[in-house]
């Protein structure tokens, strides 16, 4: 039996055992899709040939639910690639452009497969986002690592530890994370983490628990992913704190919006 075990182990070759002839890869808990837009993608149609085998940006079929606003929003956002293994993630990462080298007004959106990076998606419509804005001049050397660590926390499912802590391996609860975004603007970068739900400040036990869970994601983002001290004050010209806003409140702006800051 020992020989069988040995044989079996030799037939399973990870990329570490044999980088050019591995036969297994490490599955991610969810499949993910990377999307991209920039001024250069606006109005750009994918060529008809010979590239028809590449995925077109899908227009989700929803019974009148997904407003035409979202369709307009998604028109210029191009689907780059979908993947569901650690090895494919790195193959993608090592062959695309890091944020520090993107043109102005560009965005990467890394979302769970089946969720489009729009408020109107069912998975996002009741949610919100943690975000931080960073001045570009001081952070050009940092932004690539911050974005990489944000993506790794997303695909590694470490933002929301309910999954890891679940007792029953067959009945995993749903993570709050739907996607992460990096944006380049003329004077700053922005990193965002989108959640499925947002606390409503109703004072119910359920809402308070959700608020704790959402705040834990924000603290993990600030301290473990971005590398700040937990008590660091980040607000400065062109810079914000790590702050949470529901998508519904983002619509309102100004006074009525309830921001959570960690």
């Amino acid at each position: 039996e020992e020989v069988d075990m040995q044989q079996q182990a030799e037939n399973i070759r990870t990329v570490f055992n044999d980088p050019t002839n591995f036969n297994v890869k490490h599955p991610l808990f969810s499949a993910w899709t990377l999307w991209f837009d920039s001024p250069a993608t606006k109005g750009r149609n994918m060529p008809q040939t010979p590239m028809t085998s590449f995925p077109q940006t899908p227009v989700p079929q929803t019974p009148g639910g997904l407003a035409s606003a979202a369709q307009g929003w998604m028109e210029d956002i191009k689907r780059v690639i979908s993947f569901d293994s650690v090895e494919e993630f790195w193959g993608m990462y090592n062959n695309i452009v890091p944020p520090s080298n993107l043109p102005q007004r560009a965005n990467y959106y890394l979302f769970k497969e089946g969720i489009i990076p729009a408020w109107e998606d069912d998975a996002n419509k009741n949610g919100g986002k943690w975000s931080i804005q960073l001045p570009k001049d001081k952070n050009r050397p940092n932004v690539d690592k911050m974005w990489l660590y944000t993506m790794l926390a997303a695909i590694g499912e470490t933002f929301d530890p309910v999954l890891a802590n679940a007792e029953n391996p067959d009945d995993a609860p749903q993570s709050l994370i739907t996607g992460v975004i990096v944006s380049t603007r003329p004077q700053f970068y922005r990193l965002s983490i989108w959640t499925r739900s947002a606390p409503q400040a109703t004072g119910t036990d359920e809402d308070n628990k959700l608020k704790e869970r959402v705040e834990a994601i924000g603290r993990h983002f600030k301290v473990n992913v971005l590398g700040y001290q937990s008590n660091a004050k980040l607000h400065a010209p062109l810079a914000t704190e790590v702050e949470f806003l529901s998508h519904k409140d983002s619509d309102k702006k100004g006074k009525q919006a309830r921001k959570i800051i960690v």
């Binding site: 991209f36 920039s38 250069a40």
Partner: protein, 92 residues
């Protein structure tokens, strides 16, 4: 030999595309110095629930080949800023 099957391009699906998902992590022998996800994932051994950053970073310098399903970046309009400036294509 030093030839990389995945760099042959038109020779069919790459090694990356053909590899299957690990379904039992206890059957995998990681080389010395590479950490297994098992220790951080008990009790969900068959399908890890999460991977730590340190575990994921081990792959960074090993998985360099372009996945088969990554379109040429110029088709997507996804090009470095310097490229666009060099081509006079800056939108400013």
């Amino acid at each position: 030999t030093g030839a990389k099957p995945t760099s042959l391009g038109s020779a069919g699906p790459s090694v990356l595309a053909n590899a299957r998902h690990i379904d039992d992590f206890s059957a995998v022998n990681y080389p010395e110095g590479i950490s297994s996800p098992i220790t951080e994932n008990a009790p969900a051994l068959n399908k890890p629930r999460h991977y730590s950053r340190d575990f994921l970073l081990q792959f960074m310098d090993v998985c360099k080949d372009k996945p088969d399903n990554l379109p040429p970046l110029e088709i997507l309009g996804l090009q470095p800023e310097s490229y666009q400036i060099a081509r006079g294509g800056s939108n400013r």
